[in-house]
Amino acid sequence: MAMFDFISRMFGKESSSKNVATERLRLVLVHDRANVSPEMLNALKEDLIRVISEYMDIDQAGLEVALNQEDNTVALVANIPVLRMKRNYASNAS
């Protein structure tokens, strides 16, 4: 059993329990920290609006930002309705 354990770990089939723990912790803390400061998500929203507005007109009221979890990853998912692209971005930039 121990030998099998060892071999399966070597071949990466089964992670050691401490790796499982650190991975679970990493994920749970993403949510804990986001929940502790909803202000942080709001500040991020405002920054996103500011940056994206340089490139396109967006529906600010319809903007959604959330953390989505799938198995072993947490993704920041932003849904940003675009009203209109800015035509002359390049000339503005130069």
Binding site: S16, N19, A21, T22, L25, R26, L29, D32, R33, V36
Partner: protein, 264 residues
């Protein structure tokens, strides 16, 4: 003016009281004048860990309510005459002390002591708020275990919100043999996740249980690994630069051989 240090954790049972007793005793052994404050009202424990339970007359609530003078409530340690304990109340309400009273009390102790070490209760309620109210430095105690680390993360966030910056971490009850097998998070894992500076690592050690039975802090025990870890932590608190102990080796063949041959 003394320095005010709070020992906190979020989760119960990770070793706050043990750490408060050992750090305070260790500082006293280096001739600093030290007072410990037990803020765990209703669940007082620091007195028994220090072996001072029979000497208590007044407690922190008596001081705050004016039933006695502050000096009357301070219990002198058995071993060091420069070490004192202000015990928590055992039977009174958790909310009988507020943060302003705590600040005033600590303010009165500061001119008299080099270190004021505050033992924080578990949780994030009033007791926690009182314990950190007057603190200038925070030590977060955790175990290399998922729920303790999660709670430590929460506490670090709350300390930051309370503008108690740069807390330091003690990882307690580390079991080198389990770390070696990959069945316990190691120092780097915990440090990576919490991203704060490590003040020290204390191994799981029977000497802690034995010394607590006797009411004699393990920091005074020369042969105990946990005692050694606490002595190192104490030195770091006073500003000395001491390397982390090599705990990985503690249960290894090499160290067993060395022990057999009497090499430390």
């Amino acid at each position: 003016m003394g320095e005010v240090i709070v020992i906190t954790s979020g989760k119960g049972g990770v070793g706050k009281t043990t750490t408060t007793a050992n750090i305070s005793t260790g500082l006293a052994a280096l001739n600093y004048k030290v007072v410990m404050i037990d803020t765990d009202i209703g669940l007082r424990n620091l007195d028994v860990v220090m072996g001072l339970e029979n000497r208590i007359v007044y407690d922190i609530v008596d001081v705050v309510q004016g039933n006695c003078r502050l000096k009357q409530a301070l219990i002198k340690d058995k071993r060091f005459e420069n070490l004192f304990l202000l015990p928590a109340a055992q039977t009174k309400d958790k909310n009988s002390v507020n943060t302003d009273q705590m600040k005033e009390l600590v303010g009165n102790l500061k001119p008299e002591f080099d270190y004021i070490v505050i033992d924080c209760p578990a949780g994030i309620e009033q007791g926690f708020k009182n314990a950190i109210a007057a603190a200038e430095r925070a030590i977060v105690v955790t175990n290399p275990e998922i729920s303790a680390v999660r709670d430590a993360d929460r506490i670090i966030g709350l300390l930051e919100a309370a503008e108690l910056h740069d807390p330091m971490l003690i990882i307690n009850r580390l079991r080198p043999a389990m770390v070696k097998k990959g069945d316990m998070m190691n120092i780097v894992d915990v440090e990576d996740i919490l991203a704060i500076k490590i003040l020290g690592v204390v191994p799981e050690d029977e000497a802690i249980v034995i010394s607590t039975n006797r009411g004699e802090p393990a920091v005074l025990e020369q042969t105990s690994k946990a005692g050694q870890a606490y002595r190192n932590i104490v030195k770091r608190i006073t500003g000395e630069d001491v390397a982390l102990m090599n705990l990985e080796e503690a249960d290894g063949l090499v160290s067993k051989l060395k022990k057999l041959m009497g090499i430390k």
